[in-house]
């Protein structure tokens, strides 16, 4: 069994595994210290063959990096592959679909709250939600003057998120907060 894994490691170093196999062996290496040692030794051997220099990372090399990374913020960027523009359109379409269906959701939510919880007085909320819902049905939440309605494009969505903090108060899961990529310096 171990010999099979060791052979996979050998192939992995030579880029002779397909993507799934490569991911699989990497994940196994991540979990098994002896496999980590094995790949380190194979790499060291390869380097000696080429340079006559022996370099061997400490056993806690990746663990130290991992420790530091745990202190770092997480990334929550939009679900778009850097090479796949189509996924940006999917993101935009998702916004339009959510917006188009909000009328029903608003009414159901408001009425549910009104009847189920006596403590929350939402008569004004129901009224405004219903009014807004009716308004939303007749006028899409995103449209272009003089042209056919179009989805909010990704660029405008990015601008909106930089413009105000409404992104935090809407329930859209895939917003892209400007943490870490924007450090405003005020004048």
């Amino acid at each position: 069994m171990h010999e099979d894994l060791n052979q996979k490691i050998s192939q992995f170093l030579d880029n002779e595994l397909d993507q799934d196999e490569a991911l699989s062996i990497l994940q196994k290496i991540q979990l098994q210290p002896d496999l980590k040692d094995k790949i380190n030794r194979y790499e060291a051997i390869s380097h000696v063959l080429k340079t006559d220099v022996f370099l061997y990372p400490s056993s806690d090399f990746s663990a130290k990096i991992n420790q530091q990374i745990l202190q770092e913020p997480y990334y929550l960027l939009p679900r778009s592959h850097p090479f796949t523009e189509n996924k940006l359109f999917k993101h935009s379409n998702k916004i339009l679909v959510v917006a188009a269906s909000i009328a029903v959701v608003a009414i159901i939510t408001a009425q549910g709250v009104n009847y189920s919880d006596n403590k929350i007085k939402t008569s004004s909320t129901v009224q405004l939600a219903q009014t807004q819902a009716i308004e939303q049905v007749s006028k899409p939440s995103a449209y272009r003057y003089g042209n056919e309605p179009s989805s909010v494009n990704a660029r405008i969505n990015d601008y909106l998120q930089a413009h105000n903090s409404s992104v935090y108060t809407n329930g859209e899961v895939n917003f892209r907060p400007f943490a870490r990529v924007s450090a405003y310096s005020q004048e």
């Binding site: 030579d14 880029n15 991911l23 990497l26 790949i39 000696v48 063959l49 220099v53 370099l55 990372p57």
Partner: protein, 196 residues
């Protein structure tokens, strides 16, 4: 060879995407995949294995912090290498300033790597140990059966794919795979006792 590189780059892209979606463990996989290459790269500048490891770790952490800006126009490893080189150069400059025998700036970093007085000096014991390890590995290769030695040399020195080696050696790809693996295992068996 191109298809192998594409598969490797595709894996990198997917792992980067996972990190950008909040999966930090995916970054650990990238570290495992590239730790040796980055240490080797940094060591070309730093010349001290211990310091090179520290600088390599710093490079990986910087890369994580900059990952939000990685847009995939270059391959991930190219982008990572650039960060590692910059980190190594910055380290050399700051180390030179600490020694402060002469003024340096970032443009001088290329000369610094050749300046003997700034190269990391190994301890005699460590030098001896490393030399012994290098000799052991070289000796192990010399003692390999010829077909295994040829296979691994074509792979390591010429960078040929298994497919290309199978053509050169007129044998099936599976045989090439097996010969290279057994060569590594034979050398490893000589190396492991020295590391314990």
């Amino acid at each position: 060879m191109n298809s192998q590189i594409r598969a490797s780059e595709q894996l990198d892209q997917d792992l980067v995407l996972r990190v950008q979606q909040g999966d930090k463990s995916a970054y650990d996989l990238l570290v495992i995949k590239y730790q040796h290459k980055i240490i080797q790269l940094v060591n070309r500048y730093i010349k001290d294995p211990s310091e090179a490891q520290d600088v390599a770790q710093e490079a990986f952490i910087k890369a994580y912090r900059a990952l939000g800006n990685f847009r995939g126009e270059s391959a991930f490893y190219t982008w990572l290498y650039r960060i590692a080189i910059n980190t190594a150069k910055n380290y050399l400059v700051s180390r030179a300033r600490r020694n402060s025998d002469y003024q340096v700036d970032i443009q001088d970093a290329e000369q610094i790597e050749n300046a003997p007085q700034l190269q990391g000096m190994e301890t005699p014991d460590r030098l001896l140990s490393n030399q012994e390890i290098v000799e052991t590995i070289k000796s192990a290769i010399e003692n390999l059966p010829e077909e295994m030695r040829v296979a691994i040399m074509l792979r390591e020195f010429e960078g040929l794919s298994y497919e290309e080696i199978s053509v050169a050696m007129d044998c099936p790809v599976g045989t090439v795979r097996s010969r290279i693996f057994r060569a590594r295992e034979a050398i490893d068996s000589k190396l492991t006792p020295l590391l314990d």
